[in-house]
């Protein structure tokens, strides 16, 4: 890849960023390539030494705060003409409410995921609580001489204890899964903002 090809590809890949940011980074890499070439390294090798555009984009996506990316993405890239503004305003009851509805649906779906997690943990809490309760009850009954009933309750306590151990590991895994889902969603939003998009 030549220096120009690399820089063009880089600028394209970083379209989602503020233009000043893109230029600053492009200048930085251009300088790096030039310095290497000054030492006698060929243009092709100099570009290769920098790493691929994909690697650079991935690193930026990782570090760049998501708020900045979203803000940059939704800003109009060109000034709106008068009739465009009028049309937007007139149509706003429709597109605005659709947008809000869509956002509300997506948010509810995400909330449902966490509600399920909460439900799982409630099951664990119930099992654990029941285990404790039947243990206490069983010991009490044994002490008051009601051996058969006491043993039954103790058996129940053991069952609850065993089930709650399973439930605990299940809850832990589910919670980790939900956390990973959240991270994946954030990353996807960032990537979507950075992709070269349709004209606003």
């Amino acid at each position: 890849m030549t220096k120009q090809e690399f820089l063009t590809a880089l600028r394209e890949a970083l379209t989602g960023l503020p233009p000043s940011d893109v230029e600053e980074r492009a200048d930085f890499y251009a300088e790096m390539i030039d310095d290497r070439m000054e030492e006698g390294i060929s243009e092709k090798e100099a570009v290769a030494a920098i790493g691929s555009v994909e690697e650079i984009v991935l690193q930026i996506v990782d570090e760049y705060p998501i708020a900045k990316l979203v803000k940059q993405r939704i800003q109009p890239k060109r000034r709106l003409s008068a009739w465009e503004i009028v049309l937007l305003a007139l149509g706003s009851p429709i597109w605005l409410s659709l947008l809000i509805a869509l956002f509300a649906i997506l948010l509810s779906l995400y909330a449902v995921v966490w509600s399920v997690i909460v439900a799982f943990w409630s099951v664990f809490a119930a099992l654990f609580g029941s285990g404790l309760g039947t243990l206490v009850g069983g010991v009490y009954l044994l002490c008051t001489g009601d051996i058969p009933a006491g043993l039954v309750l103790l058996a129940g306590a053991l069952v609850c204890a065993g089930l709650s151990i399973f439930a605990f590991f299940g809850c832990k895994a589910a919670t980790k899964g939900a956390a990973r889902l959240t991270k994946g969603i954030v990353l996807a939003i960032k990537k979507a903002c950075m992709r070269k998009g349709e004209v606003q």
């Binding site: 980074r25 930085f28 890499y29 300088e31 790096m32 030039d34 310095d35 290497r36 000054e38 920098i50 790493g51 690697e55 650079i56 690193q59 930026i60 570090e63």
Partner: protein, 106 residues
């Protein structure tokens, strides 16, 4: 290496690379190469972070018909290096403790 630890170490490394004289991007990478390998994108992030923390300043100068950015350490940058040196003394004693041979028990 732990990411947080590495990030802090890299910051100090870059500061050390410019502590005696101003330097530029590629030279910093070259100077650090025997000790730690730094990618361009990592260096960019570090330089921006150090600039934001006012531990270095940037100036553009002409070199061979093109523009080159030179990085200059500030007093705050020097202080960070001093901090690192004293942190390191503490780290050494912790290291000695962790790698101490188990003493025979009675």
């Amino acid at each position: 290496m732990d990411m947080q630890l590495k990030r802090g170490l890299l910051d100090v490394c870059v500061l050390a690379a410019i502590k005696s004289e101003d330097s530029y991007g590629y030279k910093i990478i070259k100077d650090l190469k025997p000790y730690i390998v730094l990618s361009e994108s990592t260096l960019y992030t570090i330089l921006k972070r150090l600039e934001g923390a006012e531990m270095l300043t940037v100036r553009t100068a002409e070199h061979d018909g093109r523009l080159r950015k030179y990085y200059h350490i500030t007093a705050a940058g020097h202080r960070r290096i001093q901090e690192f040196k004293s942190e390191w003394a503490e780290m050494m004693s912790i290291y000695q403790f962790v790698t101490k041979e188990d003493e025979p028990h009675d």
